[in-house]
C-alpha cells in the first residue's frame, strides 16, 4: 500500500494541471494514468488554443502538454503510467493494475480527472471498420502519424468536426463532405471558413443514411432532413469513402465515479451523466473531487482551470493553505473559468454548471471502520 496526501486519476489536461497546483501548494500527490504516456488528449491537439493569454491561447495543445510535463518534472510530481485504476473505495483506497501488477494507494483526497469518451451514432453500417470517432482519426493522424483512410466523410460540424476535418487535410487525407444535422455550423465560423476555402463541401440539414462495404467502409450515403430530422426521399447523395468520422459529442467517463456510488445527475448539455459537484468541485463524498470533462464536457482550457480549482480545494482540506488563501486562489480560477464560459455556448455551460452547484449539498464526513 502506498500512502499519499492526494491521488489524481488521469494525467490529461485536468489531472496534470491539478497535480502541478497540488505540488506547488506542498501536497504530496500521486497521479495514475492507464496510458503509457501522460498528456491525455493534449498531444493530438495540434491546433492553437482559444481564449486569452492566461489560458495559453495561441499555444498548440501538444505544446501545452510538453510544458505541463516539464513542470511536473521540475516539481518532482509522481506520475505512474500504465496504471489502470479499477476501483476507488469510500475510505479513499485506490486500486490499480500497473504493468499487470497490483498497485494500491491510500489517499486523503482524490481528484477524478478521467475525461470523456466519444459518442457513436448508429446507422446501418456504423460498425464497419473505417467508421470511427473523429477524435480517433485525430489521434491516429496527429499522434501516431498514420492515415486511417484516403477519402473521408465527417459527421458533425461542431468545433471537433471542423478542426478534425482540417487536420485530416493537413495529414493528406481528402475530405469529401462534412455533414451536419442542424441548419448552421455549430463550431467557430473561422474554422468553417478555413475548411470551405480548402474545398470541403459542408452539408447542413443532412444526416447519414448508411455506410456500406464488405470488410470495411467503401461508401457512405447521406440525405437531407426535414424539420423533424426525418430524411427527405430523393435527396440521397452517395460518396465513395474509406473513412467516416463521427464528431457527435462526448460523454463524461464516469465509470469509476458511478462505481463509487457518487450522486449523479443527467445534464445533456454537458455530455450526459455527471457526478453532482459543488463550486469547490467536491462531489457527494467528502474529499472526492471531479475536474475536466468528467465534471461535464467542455474544452481542454476549462479542464486545466478546473484541475487548479480541485487542487486548491484539496490543499485547503489538507490544511496546506488557509481557508482565506484558498478562497482567494479559487476566486482567481473561477474568474478565469468565467472568461472561458462566454458566448452562446459558454453561457449555456455556465448556466448548467450553476444548476449543478444549486443541487449540491455539502457531504457529511464519512467514517469508515477498519474492521
Amino acid at each position: 500500500m502506498t500512502y499519499c496526501d492526494a491521488v489524481v486519476i488521469g494525467a490529461g489536461p485536468a489531472g496534470l494541471s491539478a497535480a502541478i497546483r497540488l505540488s506547488e501548494l506542498g501536497v504530496d500527490a500521486l497521479v495514475l494514468d492507464e496510458k503509457p504516456a501522460a498528456g491525455g488528449q493534449l498531444f493530438k491537439q495540434i491546433h492553437k488554443f482559444f481564449g486569452s493569454e492566461r489560458h495559453m491561447a495561441g499555444t498548440r495543445g501538444f505544446e501545452i502538454g510538453r510544458l505541463f510535463l516539464e513542470r511536473c518534472r521540475e516539481l518532482g510530481v509522481s506520475i505512474r503510467l500504465n496504471a489502470l485504476v479499477w476501483g476507488v473505495y469510500p475510505d479513499k483506497t485506490v486500486g490499480a493494475m500497473q504493468n499487470d501488477k497490483p498497485l494500491m494507494a491510500k489517499a486523503k483526497q482524490i481528484i477524478f480527472a478521467t475525461g470523456a469518451a466519444e459518442n457513436a451514432l448508429s446507422f446501418p453500417g456504423w460498425t464497419l471498420p473505417g467508421v470511427m470517432g473523429a477524435g480517433a482519426a485525430q489521434t491516429l493522424v496527429n499522434y501516431h502519424r498514420v492515415r486511417p483512410g484516403r477519402r473521408a466523410l465527417v459527421v458533425g460540424a461542431g468545433n471537433v468536426g471542423l478542426i478534425v476535418s482540417y487536420q485530416l487535410l493537413q495529414a493528406g487525407i481528402e475530405v469529401v463532405a462534412l455533414v451536419e444535422a442542424m441548419k448552421n455550423v455549430g463550431g467557430y465560423m473561422v474554422h468553417a471558413a478555413k475548411i470551405r476555402r480548402m474545398g470541403v463541401s459542408i452539408f447542413p440539414r443532412h444526416t447519414v443514411l448508411l455506410a456500406e462495404g464488405s470488410d470495411c467502409v467503401e461508401r457512405c450515403v447521406i440525405a437531407e432532413i426535414d424539420d423533424t430530422f426525418k430524411p427527405i426521399e430523393g435527396t440521397e447523395k452517395s460518396f465513395n469513402v474509406d473513412l467516416v468520422c463521427l464528431a457527435v459529442g462526448l460523454s463524461p467517463a464516469v465509470e469509476l465515479c458511478a462505481a463509487l456510488r457518487l450522486e449523479m445527475m443527467y445534464v445533456p448539455e454537458l455530455g450526459g451523466r455527471i457526478p453532482v459537484h459543488g463550486e469547490s468541485l467536491m462531489t457527494s463524498m467528502e474529499g472526492i473531487y471531479v475536474a475536466g470533462d468528467v465534471s461535464g464536457v467542455e474544452e481542454a482550457s476549462s479542464a486545466i482551470e478546473e484541475g487548479k480549482l480541485a487542487a486548491i480545494s484539496a490543499a485547503a482540506a489538507l490544511g496546506k493553505i488557509s481557508e482565506k488563501q484558498a478562497s482567494r486562489m479559487a476566486d482567481e480560477v473561477r474568474e478565469s473559468l468565467a472568461q472561458l464560459r462566454q458566448g452562446p455556448f459558454g453561457d449555456l455551460i455556465a448556466a448548467k454548471k450553476r444548476q449543478i452547484f444549486g443541487k449540491y449539498q455539502k457531504p457529511c464526513p464519512i467514517t469508515v471502520s477498519n474492521t
Binding site: 492507464e34 496510458k35 503509457p36 488528449q41 495540434i46 498548440r60 469518451a117 466519444e118 457513436a120 460498425t127 464497419l128 471498420p129 473505417g130 467508421v131 470511427m132 470517432g133 477524435g135 480517433a136 482519426a137 489521434t139 491516429l140 493522424v141 496527429n142 501516431h144 502519424r145 498514420v146 492515415r147 486511417p148 493537413q170 495529414a171 493528406g172 470488410d215 470495411c216 474509406d242 467517463a253
Partner: protein, 107 residues
C-alpha cells in the same frame, strides 16, 4: 508497405527517426516503429479489420483509438481481447486477428 505513414506534416514536421522492431501479424512479419501501438503499426499498412464478432462474424476495426471502446481488440502473444490501440509493439510480438471472443494460447 508503410503507405499510410505521414512522413511529412505541415505542423509536426518530418516523422522522427526511431528504431524498428519486428512484429508478426497472423504469421507474417511486419516492421513497426519502436514505441508505437499495435494499432498504429497495422493502420500504417492500410489495415482496417482487426477482428470478427462472435455471433455474426462481422468485421470490426478501430473506433476510439484511446482504449475506451475495445473495438480493436486482437490476440496478442496468446492473450485474447488485448486493446491494440493502447498496447505498444514489442520485438517478436505475435498478433492474431481475433475471431469472436478468441482463445487463450497461454495459461
Amino acid at each position: 508497405m508503410d503507405s499510410m505513414r505521414i512522413v511529412e506534416h505541415p505542423i509536426l514536421g518530418p516523422l522522427p527517426k526511431t528504431q524498428e522492431v519486428t512484429i508478426y501479424v497472423d504469421g507474417e512479419s511486419l516492421q513497426a516503429r519502436e514505441g508505437e501501438t499495435v494499432a498504429a503499426a497495422l493502420v500504417a499498412t492500410g489495415r482496417k479489420c482487426f477482428r470478427t464478432t462472435e455471433k455474426l462474424g462481422e468485421p470490426r476495426g478501430i473506433f476510439c483509438a484511446i482504449g475506451k471502446c475495445t473495438d480493436c481488440v486482437m490476440t496478442v502473444d496468446g492473450m485474447p481481447n488485448v486493446r491494440t490501440c493502447v498496447t505498444p509493439v514489442r520485438d517478436g510480438m505475435q498478433i492474431r486477428t481475433q475471431e469472436g471472443l478468441g482463445e487463450w494460447a497461454i495459461q
